[in-house]
């Protein structure tokens, strides 16, 4: 049933946020530190564990995948509700940072590609 998936997702979310807030308290930051990250790792682990036992039921999976698909639309709604007028008055930081970060990362590719000798197996069935 789809609600099982949504419930599982909600469990991971709340548990992750709880851990994040706890960590925040521990390192004296007012707020949640890495809560979403913990929640994602939790969902990945639960999913991997269940996959060993035959995987989640299709309905359950669909309950999670629906929310996964809503991610981009939510980002768009979020973008449209920010204080962009004030952001623009701050200058070209987004343009500068985004461009420099990406272009500079390109040139680390050949360096890191040399690490390790193993070849990556390509799976042609996908």
């Amino acid at each position: 049933m789809k609600i099982y998936g949504v419930a599982l997702l909600a469990f991971c979310f709340l548990a992750g946020k709880f851990l994040g807030t706890l960590l925040g308290k521990l390192i004296d930051v007012n707020g949640d530190v890495g809560g979403v990250g913990f929640a994602m790792l939790l969902l990945i682990s639960i999913n991997a564990w269940v996959n060993k036992k035959g995987g989640l039921e299709i309905g359950t999976k669909e309950g999670i995948l629906f929310w996964s698909g809503m991610y981009i639309p939510i980002i768009i709604a979020m973008a449209s509700t920010q204080n962009v007028k004030a952001a623009l008055s701050g200058g070209p930081v987004a343009l500068v940072a985004g461009t420099i970060v990406t272009l500079s990362a390109f040139f680390i590719v050949p360096v890191l590609s040399k690490i390790g000798k193993e070849q990556i197996k390509t799976d042609d069935h996908e």
Partner: protein, 248 residues
């Protein structure tokens, strides 16, 4: 008549937001396909349209207009974080393992590099408080890590808007730049493709664009797309863990 429509939408704000965002996405994907030959991804266009629409209002963007108040809930932090966690379903641990040492290192380097360069740029351009720096640095990881970090740290909406825009610029530069630079950075084998995915943390558009220019590499890329996707997500969760921690 107008009164009636306003009341109807006022009572069903969230549902109207679903309809409105659906229209934005439809229009963006049409523009991407017809005007840009998909060279600029529809998603990036949609986020740009979203940011532009925010100019219609003030502090809360378009949600300042009563007709669009539902957008604030739809794009609010609760649903957003919920959906982000759900995307972790696409990550396959076995695929991540098969990426090997170089792949794993590229992940860490990718997050650390994007974050530090992003923070450095923001600092040089005059931002000094740690929470704003972390949010903009996180935005340089991806346009979703930025806002999540920002709201966890309680920065203003203006900084969150900057971090979204930083991530969008990154996506566009990656999409347009990948085929141009592929030759110079030896992006011509599966291992380099995996390293690239870990470093840049986005698959958006790159795959299609690369395929159209250099079919052979494109095919390699495609076959590794699942790994890359898993990687992108893993980068994401790593960044969520580390980005806010840097401010303390």
């Amino acid at each position: 008549m107008n009164e009636m429509i306003n009341q109807l939408i006022g009572k069903n704000g969230l549902l109207f937001a679903f309809l409105f965002v659906g229209i934005i996405m439809w229009v963006s994907f049409k523009i991407s396909a017809t005007l840009f030959n998909k060279k600029i991804p529809g998603v990036a266009l949609a986020v740009i349209i979203g940011l532009s629409l925010a100019f219609l209002g003030d502090k809360k963007g378009i949600a300042d207009l009563s007709l669009f108040s539902g957008m604030a809930f739809f794009g609010g932090s609760m649903l957003r974080d919920f959906a982000v966690v759900a995307t972790a379903m696409g990550a396959d641990v076995n695929k991540i393992k098969s990426a090997g040492l170089a792949g794993v290192i590229s992940l860490f380097v990718g997050v650390f590099w994007s974050f530090s360069i992003g923070v450095l740029c923001a600092y040089l351009l005059g931002y000094t408080d740690p929470a704003s720096l972390a949010t903009i640095g996180a935005g340089a990881c991806t346009y979703i890590v930025g806002p999540v970090t920002g709201s966890a740290l309680g920065v203003s909406s203006e900084i969150i808007a900057i971090s979204i825009a930083t991530g969008v610029v990154k996506t566009i530069v990656a999409t347009v730049g990948t085929p141009l630079f592929a030759k110079y950075i030896q992006l011509n084998n599966p291992k380099a493709a995996i390293v690239f995915g870990g470093l840049i943390g986005t698959t958006s558009g790159g795959n299609r664009r690369l395929s159209s220019h250099r079919p052979k590499i494109g095919a390699l890329w495609s076959s590794n797309c699942n790994i890359l996707y898993g990687f992108g997500l893993f980068t994401l969760s790593l960044s969520f863990l580390f980005c806010p921690a840097f401010t303390s």
